[in-house]
């Protein structure tokens, strides 16, 4: 019995010492993290990093450099991450300018990864899978990526990235209601294509309800649905007006249609708009 008491107090001392050591090492004086990698950044700092990369791309027009920088953040699909951030910025703080800069780089990445086909009207549906990004790349070889970030030698920046919207004005190709029960949402879907039928990202769309303030959104923020695709969640019973300000194009009387299933049940449909550059 005496012997057991002796062993127990030694064990108690050991456990107490270990506990004190761990509390000190984890809570009181944890390892100070220095020399970290951008993929360990907190989400809001990753947003700042992506924004900087996008603005720098606008300044130097150096896509390989932008790609290398984005790779450091470790997003599975940098183009989608940029588009998602642009949408978040629009929704949270209405930062249209920054959203457009992010969308611009997202679109450039999509384009460099291969053209995302935008099907011609009227066969297109919103839940089609064509044009899915192929830019995923998130290897994190520290030294390699750190050096590759500056490796693609840029010349001194001269002019901003040419905007895809500086082309001839868009004309309306089609504007009509669609009944597709698989959509599940009442959307105004816009597809902007160039003369060759390729989607055009970064086109500013303004949608308004009579005297209500205009909301702004851009094509290319959902690259998985096509580079020239944009949509807006519409309310049934309201009449919208869509404007493409850079082309002076106004499309009025857009409404959520009432549709019927084969069994005669009614549901809310969507509206699709196709705009294109004249050949």
């Amino acid at each position: 019995m005496e012997q057991n008491r002796g062993n127990m107090y030694l064990l108690t001392g050991l456990i107490l010492g270990i506990a004190m050591g761990m509390i000190y090492a984890w809570v009181i004086s944890p390892v100070t993290e220095v020399d970290t990698h951008p993929n360990l950044l907190r989400d809001d700092y990753k947003d700042i990093y992506r924004s900087l990369v996008s603005r720098a791309y606008l300044a130097n027009n150096n896509l390989p450099r932008a790609e290398a920088r984005l790779e450091l953040i470790g997003d599975d699909d940098p183009a989608l991450a940029l588009a998602a951030q642009a949408q978040r910025f629009l929704a949270e703080n209405g930062d249209n300018e920054m959203a457009k800069v992010l969308a611009n780089l997202s679109a450039a990445l999509q384009t460099s990864a291969g053209p995302a086909a935008t099907p011609a009207p009227p066969t297109r549906t919103a839940n089609s899978e064509e044009g899915t990004s192929g830019t995923s790349s998130s290897e994190n070889n520290d030294q390699e990526t750190a050096s590759s970030t500056r490796e693609p030698t840029s010349e001194v920046p001269t002019s901003p990235t040419p905007s895809p919207t500086s082309s001839p004005p868009f004309i309306l190709q089609d504007s009509s209601p669609i009944c597709d029960p698989t959509l599940g949402e009442t959307l105004i879907q816009i597809t902007a294509t160039d003369g060759s039928g390729e989607g055009v990202p970064g086109i500013t769309m303004e949608i308004s309800l009579g005297v209500d303030p205009t909301e702004i959104f851009y094509t290319g923020l959902k690259p998985e649905l096509g580079l020239g695709y944009a949509d807006y969640l519409a309310e049934p019973g309201l009449t919208y007006q869509l404007e493409v300000p850079e082309s002076g194009l106004v499309i009025a009387d857009i409404e959520v249609p009432t549709c019927l299933t084969e069994s005669g049940d009614s549901y809310w449909g969507s509206w699709e708009v196709y705009i294109t550059h004249p050949n």
């Binding site: 050991l14 010492g17 050591g21 360990l40 907190r42 300044a59 130097n60 050096s147 500056r150």
Partner: protein
Amino acid sequence: MSRWTLFILILLLGLGLGLVYGWVINPVSYQDTTLDSLRIDYKTDYTLMVAEIYHQEGDLDWALNRLTLLEDKSPLISVENALKFASQAEYTLPDMFLLRDLHNAIKEID
């Protein structure tokens, strides 16, 4: 050896084991770091991005604001550190010029 001496020795042994475990074997894992903890090459590239944007847009207030996130003693020191590393790592001349321009612009108002 008295029981108290033995107890203290065992306690110190445990303390040492706890520290080794907490600092070396299983240290606190950092997932949500800030920009100031970035390695010098990443900080330099961050600064270079600010310099590229400043060169294009000329907005020094914005550039200072972004550099402040690196939490060095001052934005000027951030750019000086970037210049030193860029020189050691043999950045291209155009990139060096961009950093130098930003450095000069900050120095003028400092």
